[in-house]
C-alpha cells in the first residue's frame, strides 16, 4: 500500500517537474498513474473488508434488537460473499480473454496485468466476508466510516 501510494506520488511529482522545468514528460507517466490508482482502489477495498468497514447504509439493522441483528449481519455477509464470488468469476473470465490481446497499459506491461487486481480483489473480499459470516465479532458496524 505504502509502495503503491509513494510510487504514485513520485511519478506524479516527477511529471510536474519535467513538464514545468524541462518542457517534457514521461510518455507513460499518466497511464502508470491511472493504473496505480486502480490498484490503490481495489487493494484498499480488500483492506476494508478485513473488518467489514466498507461504506454501507445499515439504516434498518441499526435499530434492530442486538440478538436479531447479529443473525441479520451473518446473512448479509453471506450474500455479500456470494456476489463477490460471482464478480470474481466473471471479471476473471474477462481478464483471461484479455491475455490473448497485445495492448499495453503502460511501457511493456500488458493491460491484463493491471486488470487482474479486479478479480483478485473480489475473490479476497468474498473470502473475508465468508469468514465474517462465521465470526461476525471481527466486524465493526457502527455506521461511522472514519
Amino acid at each position: 500500500m505504502t509502495l503503491l501510494f509513494f510510487s504514485l506520488l513520485f511519478i506524479a511529482a516527477l511529471q510536474i517537474v519535467l513538464r514545468n522545468i524541462f518542457d517534457s514528460g514521461l510518455l507513460w507517466g499518466d497511464d502508470f498513474i491511472q493504473s496505480v490508482v486502480l490498484w490503490i482502489g481495489f487493494v484498499g477495498a480488500m483492506y476494508a473488508s478485513r473488518n467489514a468497514s466498507h461504506i454501507n447504509i445499515d439504516v434498518i439493522s441499526r435499530f434492530l434488537p442486538a440478538a436479531f441483528s447479529a443473525f441479520v449481519y451473518r446473512a448479509v455477509y453471506g450474500l455479500t460473499s456470494i456476489i463477490c464470488a460471482a464478480a470474481a468469476f466473471f471479471s476473471g473470465q474477462f481478464v483471461q480473454l484479455e491475455m490473448e490481446d497485445s495492448v499495453n497499459a503502460f511501457l511493456n506491461v500488458p493491460i491484463w496485468v493491471v486488470e487482474i487486481i479486479i478479480p483478485i480483489s473480489f475473490a479476497v473480499i468474498g473470502v473475508r466476508y465468508l469468514l465474517l459470516m462465521f465470526n461476525p465479532a471481527n466486524a465493526h458496524h457502527d455506521g461511522v466510516n472514519s
Binding site: D23, G25, L27, D30, E98
Partner: protein, 310 residues
C-alpha cells in the same frame, strides 16, 4: 456505440439509416446507437464488442490500428498539401484499408474523412524549430505518432481528450494538432491564437462492425446494410469536408490568425517529415509496401497535375 453527440449530423444520419434498414429487412435487422461516448472510449467499446455486448462502433481510424496497422497510413506527417491530392490517393488506398479491416475482423462501410489536422497554438509557430520550445499535446502514444514526434525532436505531453481544455487553460500544454471542427466542438479554440496552415496528418473515422456478428444475419440483409451504410458514409464524407472549410473560416473570423509558412520554412517541415518517414520504415509501424504505394500514387497524381496545368 459512437462518440458523436446526440443531435449531431452523424447521429441524425445514423438514426435515419437504422430506420431504413429496419424497414427494408422487415425488422430482421435493428440497429441501436449509443451516442456521446456513453459506452466509454474507443478502447472500452472494442472490449464490449469482444464480449458481444456491442456489435460495432464508430471510431477514428487510429483506434483500429492493431487490427490492421496500415490503416494509419494517412497519419504519415505532411504527406498531402491539398484535399484534391487526398481525394486521388484515397480513391486508390481506401479500398485496401477497408479490405484490411475486413481481414482484421471488422466490416466497415467506407471511410468518412475528417480533414487535415493543423497545428494550433498560443504562440506563432511557422517552422519546426520553434515547435521544440512548446508543450505539444498528443492524444495517444501509438507507434506512428511516436515515430513522427521523434523526427521532430519533440517529447509530447499525452492527456486524455477530456483534460485538453483544462490543460490549455493552465498552460500545461500550449500547442495541439487537430482538425478545425474538433477544435471548435471541444471549445479548444477559445484558448488558442494561431493556426499554422501546414496539413500535418489526415484524419478519418469508420463504423466498424464485428465480422462474426455481421455474418450471422442473412446474406440478403447483409447486402441491404452494406448498401445503406455505404450511402451514409459517402454523404458524411462529403459533408465533413465542407464543415472543415467552414470551421477554418470561423476560426479566422473569431480572431485566430492563420499563419502561412514561407518557402524555406516549408522546406524545413518537409525535411523533418522525411525523417519521420524513415523512422516509420525502420520501426515497421507501417509496412514498406504501403508507404511505397502511397508515394507512388502521390507522385503519379502530381505528375499528371503538372502536365495538365499550364
Amino acid at each position: 456505440a459512437t462518440l458523436s453527440p446526440e443531435g449531431s449530423s452523424w447521429m441524425q444520419k445514423f438514426r435515419e439509416s437504422a430506420k431504413e434498414i429496419k424497414a427494408r429487412t422487415d425488422s430482421r435487422v435493428k440497429i441501436k446507437y449509443y451516442p456521446g461516448g456513453v459506452m466509454g472510449d474507443d478502447a472500452a467499446v472494442l472490449k464490449k464488442i469482444r464480449i458481444r455486448q456491442l456489435h460495432g462502433g464508430a471510431m477514428t481510424g487510429g483506434s483500429l490500428a492493431r487490427f490492421y496497422k496500415d490503416s494509419q497510413v494517412y497519419s504519415m506527417p505532411l504527406k498531402f498539401d491539398s484535399l484534391a491530392q487526398v481525394e486521388h490517393v484515397r480513391s486508390v488506398i481506401d479500398p485496401i484499408i477497408v479490405e484490411g479491416f475486413e481481414e482484421g475482423g471488422f466490416v466497415t462501410f467506407g471511410l468518412a474523412g475528417g480533414g487535415f489536422a493543423y497545428l494550433m497554438s498560443k504562440e506563432p509557430i511557422t517552422n519546426p524549430e520553434q515547435m521544440k520550445q512548446h508543450k505539444v499535446w498528443t492524444p495517444s502514444t501509438d507507434e506512428v505518432s511516436n515515430a513522427s514526434f521523434e523526427a521532430f525532436d519533440i517529447s509530447p505531453i499525452p492527456l486524455p481528450i477530456g483534460d485538453v481544455l483544462a490543460g490549455l487553460q493552465t498552460d500545461l500544454i500550449d500547442t495541439i494538432a487537430t482538425s478545425p471542427v474538433a477544435a471548435i466542438n471541444l471549445q479548444w479554440h477559445t484558448q488558442l491564437k494561431y493556426v499554422t496552415e501546414v496539413p500535418i496528418i489526415y484524419i478519418y473515422a469508420v463504423l466498424a462492425v464485428d465480422k462474426k456478428a455481421f455474418k450471422k444475419i442473412k446474406a440478403a440483409d447483409q447486402k441491404v446494410v452494406r448498401e445503406v451504410m455505404t450511402k451514409v458514409f459517402t454523404q458524411l464524407d462529403a459533408e465533413t469536408r465542407n464543415d472543415n472549410q467552414k470551421a477554418l473560416a470561423a476560426l479566422e473570423k473569431q480572431g485566430i490568425e492563420i499563419l502561412k509558412p514561407s518557402a524555406s520554412d516549408l522546406a524545413m517541415w518537409q525535411e523533418k517529415a522525411q525523417l519521420a518517414e524513415a523512422n516509420l520504415m525502420k520501426s515497421a509501424a507501417l509496412s514498406p509496401s504501403m508507404i511505397e504505394l502511397l508515394n507512388k500514387t502521390l507522385s503519379s497524381y502530381n505528375a499528371k497535375q503538372s502536365a495538365t496545368s499550364p
